[in-house]
Symmetry: C2
Subunit: 408 residues, 2 copies
Amino acid sequence: MIRINEHYNQLKPSYLFSDIAKKVEAHQKAHPEVDIIRLGIGDVTQPLPPACVKAFHQGVEALADAASFRGYGPEKGYPFLRDKIAVNEYQSRGMDIDADEIFISDGSKCDTGNFQELFAPDIRVAIPDPVYPVYLDTNIMAGRAGDFDARRFSNIVYLDATRENDFIPQLPPGQVDLIYMCFPNNPTGTTITKSALRLWVEYAVENRALILFDAAYEAFIRDESLPRSIYEIDGAKEVAVEFRSFSKTAGFTGTRCAYTVVPKACKVYDKNGETTGLHGLWNRRQATKFNGVSYPVQRAAEAVYSPEGKVQVTALIDGYLENAAIIRSAMDLLGFDHVGGENSPYIWVDGQGRDSWSFFDLLLEQAGIVCTPGEGFGSCGQGYIRISAFNSRENVEKAMERMARALK
Amino acid sequence: MIRINEHYNQLKPSYLFSDIAKKVEAHQKAHPEVDIIRLGIGDVTQPLPPACVKAFHQGVEALADAASFRGYGPEKGYPFLRDKIAVNEYQSRGMDIDADEIFISDGSKCDTGNFQELFAPDIRVAIPDPVYPVYLDTNIMAGRAGDFDARRFSNIVYLDATRENDFIPQLPPGQVDLIYMCFPNNPTGTTITKSALRLWVEYAVENRALILFDAAYEAFIRDESLPRSIYEIDGAKEVAVEFRSFSKTAGFTGTRCAYTVVPKACKVYDKNGETTGLHGLWNRRQATKFNGVSYPVQRAAEAVYSPEGKVQVTALIDGYLENAAIIRSAMDLLGFDHVGGENSPYIWVDGQGRDSWSFFDLLLEQAGIVCTPGEGFGSCGQGYIRISAFNSRENVEKAMERMARALK
């Protein structure tokens, strides 16, 4: 008899953003006249940078001719892209990351979801709350979560991000083995300082733990004092994997390209405490279960690092950051406490006593605005909503006007 | 301490095709003058069909304009593609498969590799020998394989394909829960008849087992009496998942698009023997760990079903099938026993007492031809090589001439 992985029964019946999509669809159906503005899922809205479009077309054209045709590419990605990333994102900023330590993929969701496969089922996992739901859900699926007591799982060490700690989790009190971090944070939009991040790296070294550092939003950092990569911290190469994506940087959410850095110096352990290389393990996983990213997509991603591409990407992100500033001002005027939105596309808004989903419903029904209910990111998100700056200037301004009317 | 998934240590240190690539690279380095012809990995060489190229460009262009821009798509794939597949691949051939039962992905390697995640760790798995290495390797990683005794894993039920059974495995003697099948077969190139396939469906129904049917090469079937889909067999919708790909059909190995059919009627069981829907489980897996296929790639795949696309794809496959016929004739002339290559791009050649890797080395060194050593696909592949028809006519003819000289 073909029996299921029972841990799937521990998951909430559907995925947060699918739930939201259904609510929005129902509202639109009931009110077809409403021009709903989406500041929810965190999806970009602006077109691909022209440099990427041009390279994308050239990549397609290469596949149209037998002489330039490309079939299966390297599972790790083409060297032309890995080299550019190594130089532009790391080496030019003083970090000693080699192209061979970079794995191209079709998305950070996949990579952050799949990475836990490499580890024993009984390691102790620390996960922020609130957080991107994929970290927790994939560990539930793998059977690492333990029992659910209506609020939390017994085997997960939750790293609370609350008003009390300025939404930056403190080090866990005991010993954990695998730590998920995300800065600039999704959903709170907060950033971490180098000195605070250094404490986590030191913790990982001392406890022989591994940090999975999700830096999908690093391109939004404009404050030069803030770390854009965990490898800016000495010693991080031995204890941290970093996830990066072109999704939010260059508008690739529908194009699909990301990368993960697994330094060769990064060590994990077998059951006898012997060290083994993490790089080789991830390489084996990817070579077995993944077949590389579409060639034209990798060419489009490469163009992010061309002189024009750099200018265009900066302009794209500047635009979203200006949207974020508009949202922050509007929240100030309306008297809502909030964090984020300064080096991040997300603004985390305190509902002033409102329940997250009620606040979500209110904004949808009274203002035709889609946000994301904070509770969907974890129990510490209760009472908050996440507003995303990913939309056109016009829509953001319209949304803020509508919100002012609805909440005045 | 961050401990690894110890099952990774049960894997062979590297993946078959990576090993081959390294050998070929070393040979090329030592003999830069040799024009190596690759009839190994099963990668296509002909350009994308013009209809796909055109649609691919249009898809890219849509991302260049805010009005037509697409961000995150549905994790299951866009309805425009799922609808076309349902109609053209299934409904028009009398199979009642709905678009909602089709999941678009970036490759059958990923899907066949990931699907086992949905099941309990202690189910009994039947895997053909020889076979595409991904089925076994991903079950090893998941801890289902048991101990290795230098030849085989203790918990795997091997379905031997040998000369004695005309390379079509017989039903397992006892009860198994999950069965991997692949027809037209990789690596042997053999096909299964409807009556033989019916026995497997009946076995699955009787034993409440699930069949994972890999039909990546179905487009090569020209014999109308042979099943192109397992759903041509009555009752299969309750017990079978089917994997299909645009890789070999339309030359998408470097473009990346595939799909998996999970019928809503397909049932699996929880530990109490209660039935549960497999469709919902896979949907949850994909929604959590996958973020959809690049929009322009899905548009390119859709064009496979346009009137021009259909003609072009047929011509593409006809060309490879003619290559296969040339290879079969050459093997006949050289006096090598072989199967496959009639409704398949692969020819499975008996080495006449030669060990697989010796035969591989001989062809590489004496003829500058890359094949795949049969032993890489399992112990029953020992003594065989797989020759692939995926190359240009010119290269195939040249390769056969060289082989004749080397083996005469």
